[in-house]
Amino acid sequence: MFTKPFNVKRNVFALILVVFLPIFPITGKSCLVNFPMQTPATTLAKLSKDVYSETPQGADGYNFIFSYIGVNGLKMSVYHKIISPYINEHWFDNYMTYPCYGYDLDDYIIAIRGTYTKNGFLNKTAINNLLADSSFVTGQPNTNFRQYISDGVRFLQNTTRWIITRQLSKPPYNYSYYEYNYDEHRPNQYMITLTGHSLGGAIADVLGRASGMRTVIFDAPGPADLYQYLDNELASIPKRLVDFYSRDFYSNYFGSSYVIRMYGDAVSLSGTHFTDHFNGYSFQPYGTFTYNPPSPFSKALIDQSPGKYALALHDMNALISQMLTNAGSVSGVVGGTKLVVGANYIVPGTVSWLKTTANTFTTPISLALSYLYQIIFFDPPPGESYEFIEDAGSPFIRSISLPLLNGVAQWSLSYLLNGTWSDYLTLTSMDEYFFADGVTGIRFIPLDSNGNQVINNNSFTYAITFSNIGNINGKLNTVSNLMPTLSAQITGESLNQNMRIWNISLSNSGSGAAIAAQINGLSIKQTSGTPCTPVKVSPVSFPVTVGDIVSQSSEGIQVAIDFTGCSSAVEFSITINYSSNGGGINGSNTSHVAPALTNIIGDINGDGVVDIKDLNMLNTHLNKPSTSAGDPFDINNDGVINALDARKLTTFCTYSRCAVHS
């Protein structure tokens, strides 16, 4: 009846315990195993984030060991921590205290990187990797996804081989009387957990399912539908021992799978999770938990426009924060809009995706039933400014929501309504702007929080909805000529030499708005004549804000210069420095001012010329005394303004017969 040889020593000890324990009950502490049942989910989340880093740091005492990176971008990192539950602990009975001898637990975490993005928002590569290439919707793994799995299997083989070799090299198990272990040469226990975020989570889920390793994944799409097609790729995956005597400590958690996600995350709603297939009587622990969204998001806000925040809520930092603060979670997959992928696979009311090639849509959604209120994500390529113009007959654009990119807090937005481009308006990132009916094009420029233009070199996605039903065709362009083109000039001046007022105009001849334009400086350099020193009266310092200048318009400021002491023969060169869009646009213009630094006799209106307009102004003051010495109407300085002044003025006219020249 015993499969093992009878051991007198062990059984005598057992008999002693059975006989004497009721008489001398142990009142002390025993060496209970208090290993954590699982690696904390927050730690796994941190490591799932850490694997994105190019300089991994580990987390919560888990050290980074090494990484694999496949040719198509799959990255798998191994983290390790020794868990020693008996350190500084003792057990004791009625007679004495004994040190706790036990075995450490080597906890290995294999984290798989998801879609790599530097700016925190899903970019073009990210979306392609995550959705278009992995085909979670179609349920048919494509070449890319198969490659990811093959790489993952190979990496897992190497990793488990390394782990086992490492474990075997450790000292043998420290045998103790008081624990019922049958294998005296058992190496230290270890635990392996697969984890990952997003696409990395989905790959981890497949590998975990095939190997029997525990998996905890975050905001990951469900790969369950793909699993049945991956036999070839998974054929050589290292299988975990599942018998009760396994050296793997938590063998009873074979194939356990947890999905942790954020409320509103669209990615984790796509595909089918393994947990969806389990039932309440399953042997394996499983579960899906949805954390409440962080501020400023809310469930109500997300439910109102689920597609709008779908990708923003995919951020790993936000999820970790919510987990650490116990923001609350519910069991199951709730909240958000399912992300549906595919050129001909559109479901009304869901988020869809269009691939672009050479900035032109190659896959118009011809089979869509309706685009009403349907959010479609486009992915502009890198560039300074962006433009999307629909072909004739496409549904009108109903709204737009632009992303919160790294360094981009708001956007300058113009729209094409009934054939006319609007003035630029400012749209805060992630806000949804609703258009009037008839909008068929949009242009937008990324800005920072101060309204300055950001030269964005990263691809990104943005969302638009449509107000009516129809096929969408159009062109998505990156346009550099949406930038403003500025020039500065002195457009007018008044007469007084001791307080010459110059109107300085900044003109924007470009197609884009000049944001927060300013005059940075005005330098006056004498080029001829007896030296004199003009004084800037106002403004006394620069820069001076001019403001936003829409396309094909001008804005200006006035400056006052005191030229007292400068003769009429003096000439100056005036250089005006300007900038806009946070320094993205800057330049200078130089003009020559001469010889009219002294008053132009007869130029009553100060436009730099003497003409009939000045004469007409004088005629309204006929036969009145001059108001002061140097009265511009009193041309002959005789103290009275009369016909003699008028005739004298005509002798100073710039053009024949005092004609007006534009």
Binding site: N642, A646, L649
Partner: protein
């Protein structure tokens, strides 16, 4: 002897000044019109030339606004030599009309092409009531040459008499009287012929 010479030279100078004096005048100086008809005056200038041309003038013309009403004016063309236009402003008020004109021609053109005497403007009045020798006065706000320097000018005012329109009976008596006078003259001539 020397004093005598200076005196003679002074007289020549005075004579010279007077011969080149600029005169602003109403033309005709005096006229009589019947009530109800219009009466026109020319505003003339004379004595220009020798390097002096008129560049501008601003003159008030006074009149008895009980007798006359100012309805219209027409300007001459000597300040607008090429008829390309100049600045002309007329400001009528009770008993006065201010006439102002500024030439846009060049100084050299005015000096070389402008006549020495010409009509600045012709003013036409409507007669309102009877009156005898009602003055038409001139006063100068400014009178300037081509360069805008002032010109001194003597002024010659005018006058107008507004007489009644003759009645038809009076015309008949006049015709009768005229006939009788003619008859007497004719008879006197016949007598003289028969006597001779």
């Amino acid at each position: 002897m020397k004093k005598c010479f200076l005196y003679i030279m002074f007289l020549f100078w005075i004579i010279d000044i007077q011969s080149h004096a600029v005169v602003l005048s109403i033309d005709p100086l005096s006229q009589s019109v019947q009530l109800g008809s219009q009466v026109s005056f020319n505003l003339n200038i004379a004595g220009l030339g020798n390097g002096t041309a008129l560049g501008t003038y601003d003159i008030n013309i006074g009149f008895n606004h009980g007798m006359l009403d100012f309805p219209s004016i027409s300007f001459g063309n000597q300040l607008d030599l090429y008829t390309l236009g100049d600045v002309q402003i007329v400001t009528p008020s009770n008993g006065t009309v201010e006439v102002y004109e500024v030439s846009l021609e060049s100084v050299s053109d005015l000096n070389s092409l402008q006549s020495s005497s010409f009509t600045l403007a012709t003013l036409t009045f409507q007669t309102l009531t009877l009156g005898m020798n009602s003055p038409i006065t001139l006063s100068v706000n400014a009178l300037g040459d081509a360069s805008g320097y002032p010109i001194l000018a003597s002024l010659q005012n005018g006058s107008v008499s507004i007489i009644p329109v003759p009645e038809p009976e009076l015309w008949n008596l006049m015709l009768l009287g005229g006939g009788l006078v003619g008859y007497q003259v004719k008879r006197k001539k016949a007598k003289m012929l028969s006597a001779g």
